[in-house]
Amino acid sequence: MAEQLDPMLSLRGLTRRFGGLTAVDVIDLDLAKGELISIIGPNGAGKTTLFNLVTGLDRPDAGAVSFEGQDITGLSPERLAAEGIARTFQLGRVFGNLSVMDNVLIGAHTRLRAVKPAVPVIGPLLEMGLALLRPASVRAEEERLREEVKAILARFGERLLPRIDQPAYSLSYANRRRVEIARALALKPRLLLLDEPTAGMNPTETAEMQGLVAELKVEGLTILLIEHKLEMVMRLSDRVIVMDEGRKIAEGPGEAVRNDPKVIEAYLGHGLTTEQESAA
């Protein structure tokens, strides 16, 4: 396939062990620009650990991650955010005491320029000085970002805009998930990792979220999605990867994967197929 010659994200032999458990076991993956790949698999299959390895929150024991041709294995999450990788978290990690506006503004942190001069050593002190003095350039940047945040929040209809000044802890569960996604979009990501964006949402809310992800895909955003709701996975994904016990047990277009006996077995229980697995 042509797109695999120049993947945006590429994982090679990625492995992470916790004591005796291998949470991620020699995973290879190529994600082309503009592609949407879903990762599915039973709970504990290692999907979130894989996300942590890609976003720098955890370091692999073996293997490599490269992003746009650069080796990014083991880089800090701060660096990776600056490279344009944004993610949401499975159980939700909004900043509870910050308003919706401030939560999403944090998403735009890596895009601050006027208030964060790229000067070595004294850069942080200049940042504090500029934050206190607030010259016109800093004020303009802040104003521009606030307008952008409002535009992002508008994508969620009337869900978040009326609550823009409310602290995140006061929001409903579904709205917190939306704030997470809004925060990720504020980073203007080149690669977006969504960890179960519809967890805990009812069918209406799920359909809304599915619509939004579809829009993002049409806009050309490259997306890695962890999702349990197969309906949504089948509709959105260019390819689906199935993980079980840390390993990739199937990969391909949605329909093919859905009918793969190994996948059915991973979801329904383990039987006598260890030989098949080792042969595969």
């Binding site: 004591g19 990690r93 900043f95 509870g96 601050l112 934050a131 802890y169 925060r183």
Partner: protein, 607 residues
């Protein structure tokens, strides 16, 4: 001249005593992820109960040990039942603060009952020494070793073979799973607090006998040493705590052998900081693990801050500004000057502990750095006082940030331990670095406050000066909080993992918070030095750190106006009620406890 063997024996014996404290801390940390700052107070209570038993009731030694163990265990049970159990579902920081409050209350109660003067605690054992190689060992050494080994064995049997012991271990491994399997977590907590308190109490008694002296200052020292040993061994790891204690005993003993007694604690705290920085999970830590994903706002209490209209603040500031024009007494002005100085410290701490969530327990060290810098600049280099105070602020900002920076990757309670240790290190360096700080003698004859060549000696001028400085610092801080830095700091506090995933460097922003906060605290210390004209290594102590923390919690974490309101309240109210000085700290402890229990978000709310 004692032999190395003597130092080794001494180190192991002292280590044994630390182990009795540290094992209790490890048990408690294991089941409730809490560092019990009241452990030293139980140790103190144990020492005084031992004194009552030996000196007043003339009990024989075995009975003394039993009485102390039972009485201390009772204190532990009371603390668990009334101090901590009500906080089970509150924010993570609440139990830690509660144990600090309990520790202050217990220490003060002991002090009020027995007076702060040291007492002799005879060991009731024959005063003989047995020759061992080229060292000697006494019966008390053997008793301590015996008690240590016996309690270790009892504990081992309890944890391994009793049903309650299994429950304790299960709870320590996975509290939720244990609860689902029907383990009564309250009973487990009770058991653990009872055992920890009994061990701690006996330990205090033995130490009193070992040095034949007990006094109320023992409490904080014991907490610190126990915490050091526990963290070195790995928080929550019971055998690790024993090994950590013996290691700490030896390090101290050899340190004393080489450098002298005044370096004992310095070695203990350096060991702690080295372990915290290099192996934050202890020497025997298991594999690195990402912390579980939190729900929202679990570290501090979520609240909607009380919005005070701008005109009301202006009226209040104006009122305080014109106060000296009215016929008020010198006493009122003096009290308010103290409140303004404490206010600057509280502004600093509310930024560090409240806004960015690094609950510092050693904040008085920043006062000390500022005070010494300003005093020495003006005395030895004849720098004008106004500039010297700014110099003190800058030095506090720089040095304070530098000292705390290795701890930036620590989280939660560990930050509190690290700051407490660093605060002690600063005080000990001041004590020992005689060529610069004049050591235990302190610095006297510090020139009075002056500004542009005019001396500020009248209470009115000092009042205006300190009020003005505090208001300027408060305005700057409010402006900082309104900038992108304010939200960045608060994001790091609420969830540092998510903050990092969005590009916020923890080192960068924690440094900025400490630089800003360090400056305010240093300025406060500098002004204080010129007001007092004499300072020494004890002028700025842990009590002030805790007082500042109480102020910050009273006002509302991160709340600028709250920090000032809290300062005026805590400095002013005892004066209004004419409370004797010895009751004040007791009151502060009770205020802290009540706040944590009933209004954790403070008067004006967390920002």
């Amino acid at each position: 001249m004692s032999s190395w063997l003597d130092y080794t024996i001494n180190g192991l014996i002292v280590g044994n005593v630390y182990a009795l404290v540290a094992v209790g801390l490890a048990l408690i940390f294991g089941v409730s992820r809490l560092i019990n700052f009241a452990q030293g107070s139980i140790y103190l209570v144990g020492a005084y109960i031992g004194w009552v038993a030996v000196v007043q009731l003339h009990t024989p030694l075995p009975l003394t040990i039993l009485v102390v163990a039972v009485a201390a265990a009772l204190v532990g049970l009371i603390i668990e039942r009334f101090g901590l159990r009500p906080l089970q579902n509150s924010v993570r920081i609440a139990p830690l603060l509660a144990t600090i409050g309990i520790s202050f209350v217990l220490d003060q109660l002991v002090m009020l009952t027995f007076s702060p003067n040291p007492r002799a605690l005879p060991s009731q054992l024959p005063d003989v020494r047995f020759q061992v190689g080229n060292g000697t060992i006494g019966p008390l050494d053997l008793l301590i070793a015996g008690v240590g080994i016996t309690s270790a064995l009892l504990l081992f049997v309890f944890l391994r073979y009793s049903k309650l012991g299994w429950a304790v271990r299960a709870t320590a491994q996975d509290r939720d799973a244990a609860m689902q399997m029907g383990v009564d977590v309250n009973r487990v907590n009770q058991a653990v607090f009872g055992i920890a308190a009994a061990l701690g109490g006996v330990s205090g008694m033995l130490v009193g006998m070992y040095y034949n002296q007990i006094d109320t200052a023992m409490s904080l020292q014991a907490t610190l040493k126990g915490v050091v040993a526990e963290v070195v061994g790995g928080a929550g790891n019971v055998p690790g705590a024993v090994i950590g204690s013996l290691l700490l005993g030896l390090v101290e003993s050899y340190g004393v052998a080489v450098f002298g007694t005044s370096y004992r604690n310095l070695f203990a705290f350096l060991l702690l900081v080295v372990v915290l920085v290099l192996r934050p999970n202890g020497l025997f830590a298991s594999a690195r693990q990402a912390p579980p994903e939190p729900l929202t706002g679990t570290f501090i209490a979520p609240s909607r801050p009380v919005r005070i209209p701008r005109w009301a603040l202006l009226v209040a500031a104006g009122g305080f500004a014109i106060l000296p024009l009215f016929p008020v007494s010198f006493y009122v002005l003096q009290t308010l000057i103290n409140a303004w100085l404490l206010g600057m410290l509280a502004l600093s701490l509310t930024l560090v502990a409240g806004t960015i969530g690094q609950v510092s327990l050693g904040h008085a060290a920043l006062l000390a750095i500022g005070a010494y810098t300003s005093a020495l600049l003006s005395l030895t280099l004849s720098v004008p006082v106004g500039l010297a105070i700014i110099g003190g602020g800058l030095m506090s900002a720089a040095l304070g940030t530098l000292l705390i920076s290795p701890s930036f990757r620590l989280r939660g309670h560990y930050v509190s331990i690290a700051t407490l240790a660093i605060g002690e290190i600063v005080s000990l360096v001041i004590l020992n670095w005689e060529s610069v700080t004049r050591g235990p003698i302190g610095i006297s004859g510090i020139p009075p406050l002056s500004l542009f060549g005019y001396d500020l000696i009248s209470p009115t001028s000092i009042y205006w000066f300190s009020l003005a400085v505090m208001v300027v610092l408060a305005l700057l801080q409010a402006r900082l909080l309104g900038s992108h830095l304010g939200r960045s700091f608060r994001a790091i506090r609420d969830d540092d993992i998510a903050a990092r995933a969005y590009g916020l460097s923890l080192n960068r922003y924690k440094s900025l918070a400490f630089i800003f906060g360090g400056f305010a605290a240093g300025v406060s210390g500098g002004i204080a030095a010129h007001l007092y004209s004499y300072i020494n290594h004890e002028t700025f102590n842990t009590q002030q750190s805790i007082l500042a923390l109480t102020v910050v919690i009273l006002g509302g974490l991160g709340n600028v106006v709250g920090a000032i309101v809290g300062s005026v309240a805590l400095v002013g109210l005892p004066e209004v009620f004419r409370l004797a000085a010895e009751y004040r700290i007791l009151i502060y402890g009770i205020v802290l406890l009540l706040l944590v229990r009933f209004r954790p978000q403070g008067l004006l709310g967390t920002i």
